[in-house]
Symmetry: C2
Subunit: 527 residues, 2 copies
C-alpha cells in the first residue's frame, strides 16, 4: 500500500537535518579525491547523456539517507501508481498520463472508455499523416502552393515547451537535412506580439496551429481572432490555414473553422504537453514526424530509467532528492539552469514553468498546509552569456544558488572557427568545466574583492550532441525530477489553482465591475 | 563630508528591524483605504511614467524610517559625489560616469585630460553622423548598395542592454516611420549562435558592430573571426562591413579593419553602457540618431529626478529603499520583474545583469565582509505569459517573492482586435491590475487548494506608451535604484571581480594545464 505523507513525518528527513553542511565541497573537489568524485558521481541517462553530481554537497553519508528517504517515501511505487493510471492529480480528480504519450511503462490504462496509450498513438499518427501531406504538397493553401511557415498560437504550456523544443532542434534540423517549415509562436495577449509575428511572415503560405485544451483560453482565442482578421484582410480563407489542438469535448474539436483537429485530454497538463499533440503538431510540421518520433523515444527511454528503485542508477530521482536536500536542509531558495548551448536558450523558461507551476504550493495533496518549504525559484540563461552577467552574484553574492549546467561535446550547426589555438566549441566546453570548479573550490586571494569562497554546488548533464533523442531525454529527466520532488513534498504537482484568482479578477475589471483599489488601478490603466 | 558605512551601523536600520511585518497588505489594500493608497502612493517619473507602490508593505511609519535611512546613509550626497566625478568605483579606482552620457547633473568632470561630457557628446555625434551616412546611402557596401541590417557582436553588457532596448523600440519604430535597419545580435561563444544569425541575414548588406571595451574579450573576438570568415567566403571585404565600439587605448581603436571606431571609456561599466556608444551605434543605425537622442533625454530626465533629496518624490531612491526593507527586514531572497508588454521581453534579462552583477557581493567597498544580505536574485518574463507559468509559485508558493510590474495604457503597433467586448490591450491592462490585487489581498476559500493568502507585495510602473523617452526613463530608473541600493549596502556596485576566476580557469583548460577534477571534466567534455 502506498502511504502519502508529509516530508517532515519521515525518519529519514530527521536524519537528513543532522547532515546540514556535512560536505566541504572545497575539500571534496580538490586533488585526487576530486578527480575520483567526477568519475564516480556520474549516472548514465538516455540519448547519450549523463548526469554528473560530483560538485554537489553530497557524499556516501548524505546519499545513504537520501536512499532511505526515497524508500520511506515510496518514490518508485508512487511513480508506478502514476503510470499505471491511478488518480494522482487528486485536486482535479484526474490521471496523470504525459509519460504515456511516449511509451507504456506498466499496465494498460483505460479512461474515457478507451486505451489511453492507443489514443495517444492514434493522435500522433494523425498528426504525422497530416504533416506528411503538408510536406508533400497534398495539403496546400487555396492557390495550391506549399506552406512554408507554421505558427503556433498558444500560451503557457502550449507555448513555452514547444517553443523551447523547436529552438533546440532548429539548427540541428537545418544541418541534418530535415528542416521542413519555419516555426513562429504567438502567445501574449499584448496585441504587439501577434502584430510583430504577422509582420514577419508570409501569411499566404502560413499554417496556424491553435492550441487550447479547453477551447476557452481567452489569450489564445483573442490571438486567433487577430490572426483570422489578418488572413481575411489578405483575401485568404482562415479555414484553409488553421488546425486545432484541443480536447475532444472542446468547442474547437468539430468546427469547420479548421483543416484538422488533433486531440489531447485532461490527463496531460499544459506544462507536460510537449510530447503530446501540443508539441507534436508544430514539431512534426517543422521537422517531420520521424524527428518527432526520435524525440519521443529519447523521452521514453529516460522515463524507463526513472523506474529504477536503485537511487544511484536513477538520475531523475537522484537529482530530485539532492534538490530536496539543498532546499529543505541547506536552505537555498533558488536554482539556476545554465545550458552551455545557444539552442537551449528558452529551455530555462520552460523549466521555470514546469517546476514553479508544479511545486510552487503551500498545501499538501490533502489540502493541509505544510511546515516546510517546497519548490524553489528557477531561473537561467545560456552560458557563456550568463558568465558576463549575473554569475557575479552566483560567485560572490551573500546567498548560495545551486546550479544546473548542461553541456555538449559537439555543436549542432557544424560551423566553427579556430582562434588562439582552440575552436569555439572547445572554448564553450572549457568555460563550463572551469565554472564548475570555480564555484566548487573558489580561490583564496589577499584582495577580498578577488576572493572566492567556493562551496557553491552544481551538477552537469553532459551529452555528445543536442539531438532529438538527447532533447527528449533532457525534457523527461526534468519532468520526472519535478514529479519525484512533488512526491517528497507530498504535493499535488499536477494542478495550478494559483493561476485562477487573477483570471477571475481580470474578468471583473473588463466588465467594469470593480471598486476600491482595483477600480483606481483600472482607471490609471485607462481600462 | 561623506561617510561610507555599513547598513547595520545605522540607527535607522535598527529601527527598521523593529518594523518587520508592520503592514498587513490585505487590510491596507482593501476598501476605501486601498483606493486611497493607490492614488497617493504614486510618484511621477520621466517619459510619462509613474511609480506606484501602493501594494508594497509600507506605510507612513515604514516610510519615515526609510527617509531617516536615506539621510543617515547620505544617499543624495553620494549620488552627487558620483556625478561630480569622485572615484566611486574604488576597487578599480575609476570614476562612474554613465549618467554623463545623457546629461550633466553637476560640475564639469575632467578625466584623461578632457571634459568627459564633451567627450561623450562628441562620440555620440560621430555615431550620429555615421548612421546618417549609412541611411543616406553615402556609406555602402563595396557594390554601392545600402546596408539593410546591423549586427551587434558583443557579450554581457555589450549585448543584453542594447538587445533589450532594440526589441523594446522595434515595433514602435516601424509604426512611427523611423525604422531604418533590422538589427541582430551575436553574443554566445557557442558557434551555433553566430551560425544561426549568419544564416538568417543577407551578409552582403549587413554592417557589423563589434563591441569590446578592452578589445580583448575572447567570446567577442572569436565571433568577429567567425563573421570575418563568413564575409570572406561570400567574397566580401570585412573592412567594408565592420565598425568597432571600444576604448581609445584598445587594439581595435585605430585598426584599418574597421570602417569607423566609436569610443567608450573605463568610466562606463558594460551593464551601464546602453546610453553610451555601445547602445548608441546599434540603436542609431536601427532607428536613427534622433530616436536615440530621445531615449537619452528620457534617461537624463529620470537622472534628475533621482537627485531629489525628498524620498517621496524620488522614485529610484524610494524603490531602492523599499527593496532594502524587503530584502533585509522582510527577508525575501528574490524579486520578479514582470513587464506587461511583449516589447520588453528581454528587459528582465538586462535588469538581471544590471542588478545581480552590481550588487551580488559579500564584501563592502573597503573589502570587509558584510553581515547582512545584499542583492537578490532577479528574474522575470513578460505578462500575460508568466501568468500561465510560474505565477503559481508567486501566488501560492512557500516563499514570498516581491514583484515589479510594468504596464502601458497603449500598445505600440497600433493593431488590435475586439473580442468579448474588449480589446487585447484592455485585456492586457486588466490582467496586470487584477494580478496586483490578487497578490496583495488574496481570497479566502474553503478549498485550501483554491485559497490565496495574499500579502504578496508588488509595485507597478505605469506609462502611456513605451516610447523612446519612456524607455530611457525606465532604464535610468533601475540603474539609479541599483546605485542607491549599493550605497545602502556599502558595496562597490561598479566592479565585477566575481566573473574573473572562471576566465582564468577556462584558459588553463584550453592550454591543457589542468589536473584533478578539472582534468576529468575536461576529458568528459572532450576538450
Amino acid at each position: 500500500m502506498i502511504a502519502w505523507k508529509n516530508l517532515d513525518t519521515t525518519a529519514a528527513y530527521k536524519k537528513l537535518q543532522g547532515l546540514k553542511n556535512h560536505v566541504c565541497l572545497q575539500d571534496a573537489m580538490s586533488g585526487e579525491s576530486g578527480a575520483k568524485r567526477v568519475k564516480e558521481y556520474c549516472v548514465p541517462m538516455a540519448g547519450g547523456l549523463s548526469y554528473n553530481y560530483a560538485a554537489k554537497q553530497v557524499d556516501a553519508d548524505v546519499l545513504a539517507v537520501l536512499k532511505d528517504l526515497a524508500e520511506e517515501m515510496q518514490l518508485t511505487e508512487k511513480y508506478a501508481a502514476l503510470y499505471n493510471g491511478e488518480v494522482i492529480n487528486t485536486g482535479e480528480k484526474r490521471l496523470v498520463l504525459h509519460q504515456l504519450t511516449r511509451g507504456q511503462l506498466g499496465e494498460n490504462v483505460m479512461a474515457d472508455g478507451v486505451n489511453k496509450r492507443e489514443f495517444y498513438v492514434a493522435q500522433q499518427q494523425k498528426v504525422a499523416d497530416f504533416a506528411k501531406k503538408v510536406h508533400a504538397g497534398e495539403i496546400t493553401n487555396a492557390a495550391g502552393e506549399k506552406f512554408t511557415t507554421v505558427v503556433q498560437i498558444g500560451i503557457g504550456g502550449s507555448d513555452l515547451g514547444p517553443r523551447a523544443m523547436y529552438l533546440a532542434l532548429e539548427n540541428w534540423a537545418k544541418q541534418n537535412g530535415c528542416f521542413k517549415l519555419e516555426a513562429r509562436f504567438i502567445s501574449n495577449v499584448d496585441p504587439d506580439d501577434a502584430a510583430s509575428v504577422l509582420k514577419g511572415i508570409d501569411v499566404k503560405h502560413s499554417l496556424f496551429v491553435l492550441v487550447s485544451k479547453s477551447g476557452t483560453t481567452l489569450e489564445t482565442l483573442t490571438n486567433e481572432s487577430f490572426v483570422k482578421d489578418a488572413l481575411k484582410n489578405a483575401g485568404l480563407d482562415p479555414a484553409r490555414h488553421m488546425v486545432a489542438v484541443t480536447s475532444e469535448t472542446s468547442p474547437l474539436a468539430k468546427s469547420s473553422d479548421y483543416l484538422a483537429a488533433f486531440f489531447m485530454d485532461d490527463y496531460i497538463g499544459g506544462r507536460y504537453s510537449s510530447t503530446s499533440c501540443v508539441g507534436g503538431a508544430v514539431l512534426s510540421l517543422a521537422f517531420g514526424p520521424d524527428i518527432f518520433a526520435r524525440f519521443l523515444n529519447g523521452a521514453a527511454e529516460e522515463d524507463k530509467l526513472a523506474t529504477n528503485p536503485d537511487l544511484l542508477k536513477n538520475p531523475a530521482m537522484l537529482d530530485a532528492l539532492i534538490g530536496v536536500y539543498e532546499r529543505n536542509v541547506q536552505g537555498y531558495p533558488a536554482t539556476a539552469v545554465l545550458p552551455y548551448s545557444q539552442a537551449l536558450s528558452r529551455f530555462p523558461a520552460h523549466l521555470q514553468q514546469l517546476d514553479m507551476e508544479s511545486n510552487g504550493k503551500s498545501v499538501n495533496r490533502f489540502g493541509e498546509p505544510v511546515d516546510y518549504v517546497t519548490g524553489p525559484v528557477i531561473f537561467g540563461e545560456p552560458g557563456t552569456n550568463g558568465q558576463h552577467s549575473f554569475y557575479q552574484l552566483l560567485h560572490q553574492g551573500t546567498d548560495i544558488v545551486p546550479l544546473q549546467f548542461v553541456g555538449f561535446r559537439r555543436n549542432q550547426a557544424g560551423m566553427d572557427v579556430n582562434i588562439q589555438g582552440s575552436t569555439s566549441q572547445q572554448k564553450l566546453c572549457a568555460n563550463v568545466a572551469a565554472q564548475i570548479m570555480a564555484f566548487a573550490c573558489g580561490k583564496k586571494d589577499e584582495n577580498p574583492n578577488k576572493n572566492f569562497d567556493g562551496g557553491r554546488p552544481s551538477s552537469i548533464i553532459i551529452g555528445d550532441q543536442l539531438t532529438p533523442e538527447a532533447l527528449g531525454a533532457l525534457l523527461a529527466h526534468f519532468e520526472n525530477k519535478v514529479m519525484f520532488q512533488g512526491f517528497v513534498w507530498n504535493l499535488n504537482s499536477f494542478d495550478q489553482e494559483g493561476v485562477q484568482l487573477g483570471k477571475v479578477l481580470a474578468k471583473r475589471v473588463l466588465a467594469h465591475d470593480t471598486d476600491g483599489a482595483l477600480k483606481v488601478y483600472s482607471d490609471l490603466l485607462d481600462i
